[in-house]
Amino acid sequence: MSDADKQVLLEVKGLTMDFGGLRAVDTIDLSISEGEIAALIGPNGAGKTTFFNCVTGIYKPTGGDILIHPQDKPTQRINGKKPNIITELGMARTFQNIRLFSDMTVLENVMIGRHCRTKTGLTGAILRGASVRKEEQQIVEFSYHLLEKVGLTEFADEFSKNLPYGAQRRLEIARAMATEPFLLLLDEPAAGMNPQETADLVALILRIRSEETIAILLIEHDMKLVMNLSDTIHVMEYGKKIATGTPQQIKDNPKVIEAYLGEEADA
């Protein structure tokens, strides 16, 4: 399949975000197509997380366009839409410093992700009729299958705060997937993981791509992971995008080496 056949899902044009005098994200262009795993890398403070926050509606960008093209639905411009609306439209995310609902069980955490795909209202919840019970059961089943997918079923009834670190990260991914996104945004999914956990994570992400039709955009510092996993890598520095390409192209890009290692040695 040639690249041209693949539908573009997310298209960001000239995205800019200013905080006071500081331009954290500076006219970024970026697009992600169906089935793609893309990575956003760059030194600390390059504006990667801010970019995520703009795309997912937590910040209102100061300039540019964010367009989504969900399958079978018209294109939409989502600048400054509320985060919950954006999630409903099909983009879900995880957080750099894990934000699970710590006093809820693992299963319930995933069930929260189903919220925007279900519709029981107040009266429904109180009367708990047959249709409501059925929906509840579906939520439980769907969530449980997601836990199977990320390998957390043994912890289903644990409080999420009692999970080991790597498992918490995977739970966040499962929770995001429960919203049935077409694009999953992962903010440093491997941060703080040990090599085994990281290997599991890579396997998980690959499985998500092969089994679902979810595109993935991830921010990551673990270069090994990024290089192994990504189809495309975007490099940011000082809020600007300095390179885009395949892992091989990025490795050989002098600008990237400079950004990472400092100015190149005289070699």
């Binding site: 905080f19 997380t49 926050n53 937590i58 957080f95 750099q96």
Partner: protein, 136 residues
């Protein structure tokens, strides 16, 4: 003077602006917090004595209303901002006084809280407060 020039004043300001950095330059944060409570309490005591001798009576309950009103003033001015607290206090006092004098003294408290709600809706950070950006 205290806040601007003394050592404890500076330590207080530094702690307020960046607590862990203040520790990194050697500020004993626990002591600063204790001092803050002590200074605040001294001010409250001055207020308490003045008001008691002005109104001419004391009761165990006087602290509650005064506290709520003063807190309203602090929020009005922008909580966390020292000049804000002063400004907020004066604005609240004048509002109450004029509302009581020109409209109705029965509803003094209603005006005070009405003002608070209004400010919080229009400008949650208060008059002199700074909007805080939540980190994600």
């Amino acid at each position: 003077m205290l806040i601007k020039y003394t050592k404890i004043g500076k330590a207080m300001r530094a702690t307020q602006q960046d607590m862990s950095m203040a520790r990194l330059v050697g500020v004993n944060v626990d002591r600063v917090i204790s001092m803050t409570f002590i200074i605040g309490s001294a001010l409250a005591a001055i207020g308490g004595v003045l008001v008691a001798s002005y109104i001419g009576q004391v009761n165990f309950y006087i602290g509650f209303l005064a506290g709520v009103k003063a807190f309203t003033a602090a929020v009005l001015g922008g909580i966390g901002s020292v000049p804000g607290a002063v400004l907020g206090g004066l604005v609240l006092g004048l509002t109450e006084s004029f509302a009581a004098g020109y409209i109705s003294s029965d509803y003094e408290d209603v005006f005070a809280f009405g003002l608070l709600v209004l400010i919080l809706i229009l400008r949650p950070s208060g008059i002199l407060g700074r909007a805080t950006k939540q980190k994600v």
